[in-house]
Symmetry: C2
Subunit: 190 residues, 2 copies
């Protein structure tokens, strides 16, 4: 299973079979229970996690103290907060398991060494960043141009596991509305 997941995630034309082997070998197993805090706010992130299964969310608090869910991570996704990992600053978010699950971690130092010795990996990393950047940019645009209802329907069709496992309040804060409003939207959809 390790090979299947990781060769999928690190797929890139410039990463050779041998390079891929080195990358895979650098990952260690990690499993977690529902409710577990996987990475805690305030600490500098020292690894990241490639998710084999389970659902994780990241959240922070606004000036008012309300919890804001900033992202959800599902199967085959990379659970990371890049600012903390690559700028060596304290995590600004908590990462929290919504279900039991497991995945594969790689330490910062190991990743750095591979990043500088496997040219394909720095290309891969840049592509990954590019995609993530695009996602967040698109999210900003969607919040501006789409109704909360449309954004909910979008999650419902594209990321149904979020709807299944995350409580309404967390989905609401991710969408940028209150739990009350989301409850009404759900009622309305039927």
């Amino acid at each position: 299973m390790k090979e299947v997941i990781l060769s999928q995630v690190y797929q890139h034309p410039l990463i050779s079979a041998e390079d891929l082997r080195r990358i895979i070998d650098a990952h260690h197993p990690r499993s977690f229970k529902k409710g577990e805090l996987i990475y805690k706010r305030g600490k500098v992130l020292n690894e990241y996690l490639v998710l084999e299964n389970g659902l994780i969310r990241s959240y922070t608090h606004n000036y008012h103290g309300d919890e804001i869910t900033t992202d959800f991570f599902g199967q085959y996704e990379v659970v990371i907060e890049v600012l903390s990992l690559f700028q060596r600053t304290p995590l600004q978010e908590d990462l929290h398991a919504l279900t039991d699950g497991c995945g594969w971690t790689i330490q910062y130092d190991t990743f750095q060494e591979l990043y500088h010795t496997i040219p394909g990996l720095s290309e891969w990393g840049r592509l990954w960043m590019t995609n993530k950047l695009f996602q967040f940019k698109q999210k900003s645009i969607d919040i501006i141009t789409q109704s909360a209802r449309a954004r909910y329907l979008d999650i419902l069709t594209n990321k149904p596991q979020i709807i299944r496992h995350a409580p309404l309040k967390q989905i609401a804060s991710f969408l940028g509305i209150t739990d009350t409003s989301l409850s009404r939207i759900r009622k309305d959809i039927g």
Copy 2:
């Protein structure tokens, strides 16, 4: 001036003086007039631009055909759409000069060569991406948690040149409100 701007922008502990020299030499001058379309939607971006002075905005259209300003770029900023440059896909936005200005461009191929031969440059690139990612993430959170008025005041204090040069309608679409609403916010502020 070229040296001042570019050594500022490419400042990084792992970039040596010689590396910096190579990077600087790879940049070519580019100037533009107010209103000029600097990069056009539909084409694959083949270079990026480090801005010496002037103000540029990127915009796209929503499903309704309305223009949405997605970003503004000022002095010392890197004018780029990473998805197009690094994934070799057509630009999804137009980049449009709000004022006369000038800066320094570097071609994709040249950048790639430097990226893979100067280890510090791939670190620099990753840091840049990290920051940009953080900005967009923060923008999503701000749209959700702050009022349009608060976000306008934020631009007013932190990026006043935008308020000075961009027409109200473009600022409004960047904030995610209508020009009418922004006009009322301005009136209210006094």
